[in-house]
Amino acid sequence: MIPQQKFEVAYEISILVAGYLRGDLTKEQETKLKEWQQASNDHLNWFNDFCQQEKIDQQLKMYHATNKASVWNKTQDKILAAAKVRTKGRMGLWQRIAVAASILLCLSIGLHFYLTKYTSFFLEQQASRSGITAGGNKAFLTLSDGKKIVLSETKNGVTIDATKLAYSDGTEIQAISASGDTSHYAKVSTPRGGTYEVVLPDGTRVWLNAASGLSFPTKFIGTSRKVELSGEAYFEVAKDKMHPFIVESKGQQVEVLGTHFNINAYQEEVNVKTTLLEGAVKITTSGGAKLLKPGQQSDLINGEISIREVNVENTVAWKNGEFSFKNEELGSIMRKIARWYNVEVVFNNKELSKKTLSGNISRFEQVSKVLRILEMTGDIKFKIQGKTVTVY
């Protein structure tokens, strides 16, 4: 092994040679360099060989031809891989014991930050490398004549009826007004990472969450106003006692006269949840019908409805630009994150998806920030690779 002293000599010589190349050696330094050169033939040969213009030019080129990002990424990957092995194995137990002991010492918060800190830092690096961004106003409109229009990302809502198609700020959507469309049916769909507000022909306002779709006629005819929903939406239904408003979604029919409510009916979710904020709704399934009161949420699983009281603010937080989780299963939380940031989520261990967590954060934050908050509230860690978030 090379002793530290040897390095000190090497550093000193390099400073002297650099000074020589620069031409600003003091008399004293000059003498030192001379002495070193004359101490051995090897020294002198090396010196003469190194101090050639072409050689230095060449070596400086090599010196600068490094790929910083690539080396840094590799370093991070190695550190994270090792941290992962540790949380799985024996060390995980010791870490947990350490945490428990510190709680006794009233240091729990500090230590928790300490333990989660460095992986979180890497999370931000990983996220910016992956180019994952929060969702925004993204949607497209399909008309029954097959025409498909991509809605502007700089607008947040669209108003549709038989005679007019416009953004909620009044700007007309050219594609249709010019062609004199005679479409009778329309569908607004949001992709993963998209949200949009739709104003229906009767004035009902619907906010679509990510990866959702709403189909409706461009003119409501007949005794009821019927629309179809996939995914999640918040409704503010225009009052019209003569014409009940009906939302059909996965396995249920919600009938209202005029009220505010939220339906979560994603295909990938086991249950369909309908939450009432104001007024009254009737939910009909193959198994029968139930009435909801404000503040209640119905939960439909395999045709069975159960009703419970909930904090409605949490349910509609998404509409107000927030993630709000209260003792929610990590599986469900991660599906929301996946839809909004358009990422895939992988659980290293299925059990983790059953953990329940709480937390509040803006939906417009970087994904790394959202994950960091979750890391701080629960005993979990995340890793981002490309568009995949791994929970471990």
């Binding site: 390099s14 400086l60 090599m62 080396v71 370093t75």
Partner: protein
Amino acid sequence: MLLTETFDEQYWIIAFRKGNDHALSHFFELHYRSLCYFAGRLLQDDMEAEEVVSDCFYKLWERHQDFETAQNIKAFLYISCRNACLNHLKKTKRKTAIQQEYIKHLEEGEETIFYEVIETEILTILSQEIEGLPDKCREVFKLIYLENRKTDEIAAMLGLSVQTVRNHKTRAIELLKTSFLKKGVSAAMTLAFLLFIDR
């Protein structure tokens, strides 16, 4: 100046010992180029050099509590880099003549690595001088000197006039102290100029 440097060093080493990841990126920033160059020289393979260097930083981080001074960190990086390169070279089945020579030297004694360290350190000092130039000036200098770009090419790349590029070059030569760097850039320019005339 020196005092603040010492203070900064103290700050970073304490943070590093505590396992602060920003301190890791600080030391990475300081040493990654030297190590990549060092490993690249020994291995003659840039991809392998990246693997070896990232391994060294990983090992450094694993032992973050053990380091007392910034000098310890630097020495550790050099030594573990040298060892990793040697191990890698031994494992490589088909070796070039230079590599075989290196293995012999590396196994025999410390002298080879001693000169490698000196050379790397000198290049680090020269490189710091280049990095210390003002923004545009540095960019122009690097393109001329390190990438052998022609004046008009640089002008197009940076969206500047040819005259402005020339001005940056003149200023770089004024600001640089090391005559080797001054000569280097002048030579590169003259060469580019001659080639240009030749067409």
